[in-house]
Symmetry: C2
Amino acid sequence: MTDQDASVTTVRVGLLGCGTVGTSIANLIHRQRDEIATRTGIRLDVTRIAVRDLSVDRGIELAHPAAEVFTGDAMAVAVADDVDVVIELIGGVDLPRTLISAALDAGKPVVTGNKALLADHGAELFAKAEANRVDLLFEAAVAAGIPLMRPLRESLLGEPIRRVLGIINGTTNFILTKMTEEGASYDETLAEAQALGYAEADPTADVEGFDAGAKAAIIATIAFGVEVVADDVHHEGISTITASDIEYATRSGHVIKLIATAERVGEADEVAVRVHPTLVPLDHPLAAVRDSFNAVFIEGGAVGELMLYGRGAGGDPTASAVLGDLIDAASNLRSSSYARFGPLPRASVQAIEQLIDTCYSLTILVTDEPGVLSKVADAFGRHNVSIRSMEQEGLDDEARLIFITHQAAERDVRETLAELKALDSVRDIGSVLRVVSS
Amino acid sequence: MTDQDASVTTVRVGLLGCGTVGTSIANLIHRQRDEIATRTGIRLDVTRIAVRDLSVDRGIELAHPAAEVFTGDAMAVAVADDVDVVIELIGGVDLPRTLISAALDAGKPVVTGNKALLADHGAELFAKAEANRVDLLFEAAVAAGIPLMRPLRESLLGEPIRRVLGIINGTTNFILTKMTEEGASYDETLAEAQALGYAEADPTADVEGFDAGAKAAIIATIAFGVEVVADDVHHEGISTITASDIEYATRSGHVIKLIATAERVGEADEVAVRVHPTLVPLDHPLAAVRDSFNAVFIEGGAVGELMLYGRGAGGDPTASAVLGDLIDAASNLRSSSYARFGPLPRASVQAIEQLIDTCYSLTILVTDEPGVLSKVADAFGRHNVSIRSMEQEGLDDEARLIFITHQAAERDVRETLAELKALDSVRDIGSVLRVVSS
């Protein structure tokens, strides 16, 4: 930090990586620097940017000659004497883990949006930040510009949070919204999402719930103060959702969303974290979250129901989150303070098989002959799965039975389905969807 | 602050006032103190509570004998040696202003939820906090437990915010929701809200927009970094909204909400802040905010569209906000830091007459005779108010004309209406509603 005059402190920023988000943040800093200086007394100055390819012109407005700012040596930026705060935007896990560790050990606050890294090694890095008494801030890692990590870490730190439900993957929400509103098939809609740039050529990370699972691990860690990693999160994707699942959801007053759920299920360190397609009642605030928007719905013992909604991806919204963290880190640096992490004991994570209080929507294809429904109902009954509603739809010589159950245990539902599958008159088990309970 | 052992800091809390919110916060602290101590290393200890009537049993769980904690002397609590952080929950303006000033001057951080005080004297108190280098936190002053002030002050400090739209009065949102969903009249619904305790016996502060206006002044001050006071805010209430206004809104794909708008209209210090009933398109996220819920919709140049949604009133949701601030103030105290305020220059506030870019919904009652529509349309045309749509409804010998305009200037609309009023064939001017523009 350099004091230029009594009232303004200059904070020098080093960027690791300069793709879409890095370019957005550099330009946003340039555009907002005078207003930030007026309002906070802090002048942000981007002094170093580490990039892989020095020959690319990124169209960034800088206060210094580009030749002095750009470098190919990321580690040199992470520990540079003329860098006060480090922003990591490289992506991946191993290299940023090494760079962030080095920056923290050099006493530099770090801002990152790297969800994969934090979902796997968050506790290690948070402990390192705490040991070095510097900030490690990561608002951009989950739901981009939606203020979520800071409210959870600060505003709601004392709140007895019971459950967090999130639509935290924009690609899958875009696909499900199109399928619902236009009656299109999954394959058609995925192709459209790919053409629009909302989905990758290989969409696995999004559509199978890996991306949402990593974010859910971070949310659970921060909301409940226990370490949850990506591997702890049970995830199911949306690629098996059919147009008829969507139709039935609509008919029964629901909409299908890919919901990440993080909840306390017992003592302080016992949590359940899962991502799966879920029937959401139409009057629930999450049902109105359309297109590629994200939203996180928080249920607290005192605050009641909260929802935080916005753009969960994109260069500018992500840069907005990074800028907020950067100003916070710079202010803390000026006052020699930092945002503390409490201890993060390893969570005791409930396996999906131990779920006991969820309602299910189950689709079963049967031969259309007398007595079938009775056999099916009998299997439910013997496994203590109580049926709330049933709809039968004839299809030539088959019938499609769609059941919604009362609250049941996952184990009992699985046993019921295994038994049904073995029946001659059951042709196939269709979708198995859980229903958001209130 | 007293250090009991190396790892836990005790922070002593003094409460000024102990009504619904005070009782909720004292009990919430008691219930959550162990978990807060584990996660933050801070043990909160309520040592003093100032109340008007010492004889009331409030059913509060305390760690100290009640006789040592309760006192009738609020000023003694505000400056007490055994109080580290002061929470003001008295309400009103003059007494809390004196008490908060004294506490800040005594070097004590203050947490308050007093919107009336902050809307009138915020800048003075923020300057005093800054001069004493202590926190003055006020999340509870607007929209209770919804994290709003902290995201605006921290996460979005560098964000180029263009406009904030808020449903920030639960009573009027409850009334408008009932009118919309049940077709009831304003008077019937107000009576129901009063019976349920959602509206006061004298509902003026809520239904005429005073309450929302004070909150809008605070939002504008924090979002734009300029001083806006309650008197700067133009406000219109909902008491003139009729069942037929609501019907027309529904028919035209809108819902009527009491919306607070705060927007930048020119240079950094030029803002417009107003509260009035507004037609909100059904696909806007604010349209889905029902019953007594609050929501604030933020439009930023980088972050895009954000919405923060939740319970805007009530003892527990308000206590949740106070607890978040209290933990923040206690953490800052431990690290000898505080949340700074930048300078708050007086805003240049645009008068409502200077609005130039809003669409209007105008209801005009005319005699049902040939040539009337042409005269009315002529008046619009001569004042440069362009009509987007018109609907005519016959009522015996009258007709009700409902116009929606393109973007027009408030002045031109007012002149049009004045001219129409003077026409023989115009019986009355009905509701004048603005429409949310995108």
